[in-house]
């Protein structure tokens, strides 16, 4: 019996058709190779030889300090892919890179491609900004994944040594520095390393990092003083930026850089689960409620502001300039999954699903080779969410790019897709939770024996999900099927007969002695839903969004013409959903009647006085497409929130 709730691993879940099978194929065939090419072309692979081959610009040098994380995320994506789709050529490529990584390790275990070559004396002198620990975290995640996928432990050994070096260098003891990561990520990676290796010291180090964070005297002040700087010199102005403004147990709201925040919160949930620290569970719930009730886009996007790549204040949801970094939605999914394991309730998985299918997936093009960093909720020519325009006007639209100077998002979405199998199920003792529905076969040990769950579904396009249980002998366990928050009506049957079961914290729980061939059918009604914003979201006031199943929809100019701000959805409008085979490999679209206000004749007047009756707005048939698919056709306007007439 498994004591603590845990996800079924990538190795346990086979995905061969359906939504995620298609996305994974593109990831294998296009995204993983494209990212490798970029790693190579930008010098990131060569950097492991510890020979400086690319000049580093003076004013943007810090980005070069976290090159290693890109290698880490690519290797992690490759590991998940190899686990489900063995590929000798790809594995050789990864092995070769792992050899290079190993070759870069210093005698004391330290591992980094920047400092030994360019600034050996500056090693560990700026944890706040210089990301050595962040790199370590991503490489550790890769090492654990690669070990699990291939059984090869070379990278794991290297990273374990690096982790030991960090553990020796930082901590509360004499001769140690009381530091912790400026960019959290290492915390959750250390818990992975602990779970994989069983070495308690890695969990203890993660626990130390979390609890030391924000304590007085402030470590970032201390290291700044050693560099001859003051707190006031901090470019981000406030430690809220990196969630180090107060000890973590005193935090009441999600603050600062959104990706840092969610990686940290995910690490806290991991540590709370492993240590049973009830206060950390309380902190986690408090931060979760704040974030999901005050600071989350309807797409699961996080962080409205470019200036701090993060949070501003409650209900602040600008649309065109939304930063909503792809990585932040991915990090939210990570955190959500961990919250479920800490506090098993579907409300976490509802958010996880929203973040994965919308805010995260929009970060990748349909062809798998270009990426969004920022994910606005409305798009107009000449408007770029990265920054308020400079007065230099072009007619350009905001489009996905093949790479970024700081390319954290491309390998992040790649590893999420490659590892999506891990988000489908969790197991807690003799209960198996099904979270995200996906055509797949899961293999697990439950109630003392091997069981397979065969799942057949066209989710997210359709709400019918059929499970067949495969087991050599009858097994007594519970199958807990998630009832998504968007679903108001459903039916459930067991071996063809309707059953009525308890809903426990958002899951339909069927407990029985299962026999081979038992069938469970869940039918989730999936109408088009009008989503209404909280009235304090001033940027969405009087507007609605359309959602069907887990997918948030948007209007694009390609289907509806431009001037989308003038489109309004009447209260009585009826919508129909249909599957459009021709839309980017096939996707459900929503159609219905909308109104469009147009210019008053040919008057060029910028403002006019309303005198007498206004022209009746023209009715037209609109077509909405899933938000994650936007900007894959000809450039044009896009809107998620539509005026409600």
């Amino acid at each position: 019996m498994i004591e603590k709730p845990a996800p079924l691993s990538v190795n346990q879940v086979s995905i061969r058709r359906g939504f995620w099978a298609e996305r994974q194929a593109v990831n294998r065939q296009r995204t993983i190779p494209a990212i490798y090419r970029q790693l190579e072309e930008t010098g990131r692979l060569k950097a492991w030889s510890l020979q400086r081959t690319h000049p580093i610009p003076k004013d943007r040098g810090t980005v070069y300090m976290f090159w290693d994380s890109d290698t880490g995320k690519w290797l992690e994506s490759v590991a998940y892919s190899l686990a489900t789709h063995p590929d000798d050529a790809l594995q050789s490529l990864a092995d070769e890179l792992i050899d290079a990584v190993a070759g870069a390790q210093q005698a004391d275990g330290y591992l980094n491609t920047y400092f030994p070559v360019l600034a050996a004396d500056a090693k560990w002198t700026n944890l706040r900004d210089w990301h050595e620990m962040y790199n370590a975290g991503h490489l550790i995640e890769a090492a654990v994944a690669y070990s699990q996928a291939t059984g090869k432990d070379k990278l794991l050994a290297v990273l374990s040594r690096f982790a030991d070096h960090i553990d020796a260098t930082f901590g509360p003891d004499d001769g140690q520095a009381r530091g912790y990561p400026g960019h959290p990520e290492l915390e959750l990676a250390l818990v992975k390393l602990y779970r994989h290796s069983g070495e308690r010291r890695y969990l203890d180090l993660a626990n130390y990092f979390i609890n030391e964070r924000g304590q007085a005297p402030h470590y970032f002040d201390i290291e700044a003083a050693e560099r001859g700087e003051k707190r006031e010199d901090f470019w981000a102005q406030t430690y809220r930026y990196c969630q180090a403004h107060a000890p973590i147990r005193e935090h009441t709201e999600a603050t600062g850089h959104a990706v840092r925040a969610c990686y940290l919160y995910a690490g806290i949930a991991d540590v709370a689960l492993e240590t049973g620290d009830a206060e950390l569970l309380d902190v986690s719930r408090r931060l979760w409620d704040d974030l999901t009730q005050h600071q989350m886009y309807v797409t699961g996007g996080l962080g409205p502001a470019h200036s701090n790549e993060g949070f501003t204040f409650a209900y602040d949801m600008p649309t065109e300039t939304a930063y909503a970094e792809t990585c932040a939605s991915i990090a939210l999914a990570f955190w959500a999954q961990r919250m479920f394991h800490l506090d098993p309730d579907s409300r976490y998985i509802d958010v996880m699903e929203r973040a994965i299918y919308n805010g995260s997936l929009a970060g990748l093009s349909h062809d798998g080779e270009t990426f969004f960093y920022a994910n606005p909720l409305a798009s107009y020519p000449r408007v770029n969410p990265y920054s308020r325009w400079s007065g230099i006007t072009t007619d350009e639209h905001y489009r996905r790019q093949p790479w970024f100077f700081c390319p954290c998002c491309p390998p992040n979405i790649s590893r999420l897709i490659a590892g999506i199998g891990e988000y489908l199920y969790s197991q807690m003792g003799d209960r198996v939770y099904a979270h995200l529905y996906q055509d797949s076969t899961a293999s697990l040990k439950v109630a003392g024996g091997a069981v397979q769950l065969e799942q057949r579904t066209d989710y997210p396009w359709r709400g019918d999900i059929d499970f067949t249980i495969r087991c050599e002998q009858p097994r007594d366990f519970e199958l807990a099927l998630r009832l998504p928050d968007w679903c108001a009506e459903y039916s459930l049957s067991l071996n063809g007969a309707a059953v009525d079961v308890d809903k426990q914290r958002g899951y339909l729980v069927l407990g029985r002695s299962w026999s081979d061939g038992d069938r469970v059918s869940l039918c989730l009604s999936m109408p088009v839903e009008r989503v209404l914003p909280h009235p304090d979201i001033r940027q969405a006031a009087g507007q609605l969004a359309l959602q069907r199943g887990p997918l948030v929809y948007c209007l694009e100019e390609a289907d509806n013409g431009g001037r989308l701000a003038n489109v309004a959805i009447p209260p009585a409008a009826e919508f129909s959903a249909s599957f459009d085979d021709d839309l980017l490999g096939g996707a459900s679209v929503i159609q219905g009647k909308a109104l469009r206000s147009e210019a008053n004749g040919d008057s060029p007047a910028l403002y006019r006085y309303q005198r007498g009756a206004e022209q009746t707005p023209a009715e037209f048939e609109f077509k909405a497409v899933p938000y994650y698919l936007w900007a894959n056709r000809e450039p044009g306007e896009m809107r998620v929130w539509m005026r409600s007439s």
Copy 2:
């Protein structure tokens, strides 16, 4: 007979009661002294002794290079005030400052408090950024105004010498540099100096500056090369920022820094009027149409973006983050008045009135001692139009400030108010145009003799305007009364009998032989108007603004509670206007029924699915106040554009 159309001067128009009399009293009693104190405290007055008394921060030094313009604008405001309200103490203070200014003049005529003291070698080496010509312009405007108001020519002599120095230094001849102002302003000042002195060379220099601007080889490139810099090093990235991207005759749209743009365009209109250059008239009309049909806020605010303090692209009108600098609305009023003289049509004055009563006047507090630089069209706690928030959240509201590091706006609004008399009338031959209605007495020479126009009105609160003509002998001239664009119905009577007269380019023209005591009564119907935005203004789609007479209104939290984004005006709503004696010295307010959507019960949900009938929005009585009066009571939300339900 006056050949060219010209405004009646400040000296000719006496304002003793009514709207502008009140604003002028506050300006004399509070604003002029407050600005003087700031000039003194910040070292700007002492700077004229050419002794450096304040340390100059390395990274913000350029602002110190245009300190002199603040002195110039304050002296100009004082001059207008002395012209209408003599004040010995104030005049002594001004004379003392003028002595100091004169004492700072170099042997060659050069005048600047920065360069001779801090960077003598850098004189005239960066016309693009360093504002020596901009300072000269503002001081010249002050000198002309002071001469006209007081008859004292000391400052005029100083500035004429400086103008001569500039004229000798810059120009097309051998030994001259082909430079022109990076921040336009000197052009219009030189035309003022020409008109006052009759010295044609000042007009010629203005004409040269305008025509040389943007020519190849580009002067800003040449001087940059001499400083060892390249065009690409220009911090603003593009010469569109300073309207020097192309020769002026090729410009097709208003670009860049809004204040620079309108000062330049005003100078072009001046030169076009004086030279009769028909092509410059065409350019002026083209730029005017672009700006007023594509890039102007309903308040007459200009320039949506902080990044360039200026224009972005057509129909781009963000509300909360609108920059809409006070100075830009003032500069628009300057340009509009000059366009009228070039092309006498009320459409220019309609914009001038809009810019003065709304975008400009909002820049000053009711008490006259605090100022807005940026003038957003919606305001929420924590949102500051200067910059996208930094992630450092406070609950602060955007409020007027006593001063700014770059304090161009305070003395600018002060000089506009002090000199408002100049915007009331124009004269062209034997036609007298009345533009802005205001209780006043105008004294002029027309048809060979002295005439006084006594105007009695409570404009802008009421639309009744009564003129009485005073003249010793009958005089044959035309009185042209502006019919504002917001006025759909009016009546006109002459000596008590209704008259029907031609409307000529927006003016009701009454031509006759006028006798002493003749009375003209114009009654402008002044209902509450719904203003609708062009459908391409995406930020105002589905919304309306309220206007009555020339005043744009807004909702403030002080009257209506918060959450103003959830207020909607029903199509059938009726409005009433009434004068509220208690509102900040008395002002007309608008009341009517509106709907307010509120949260769905106590649910904290950020988003919800609409299932079944929605709660009917609550009806409430709203109260709108003139936009220029916002942020004078307790801090709170504000909105100009309101949702139309």
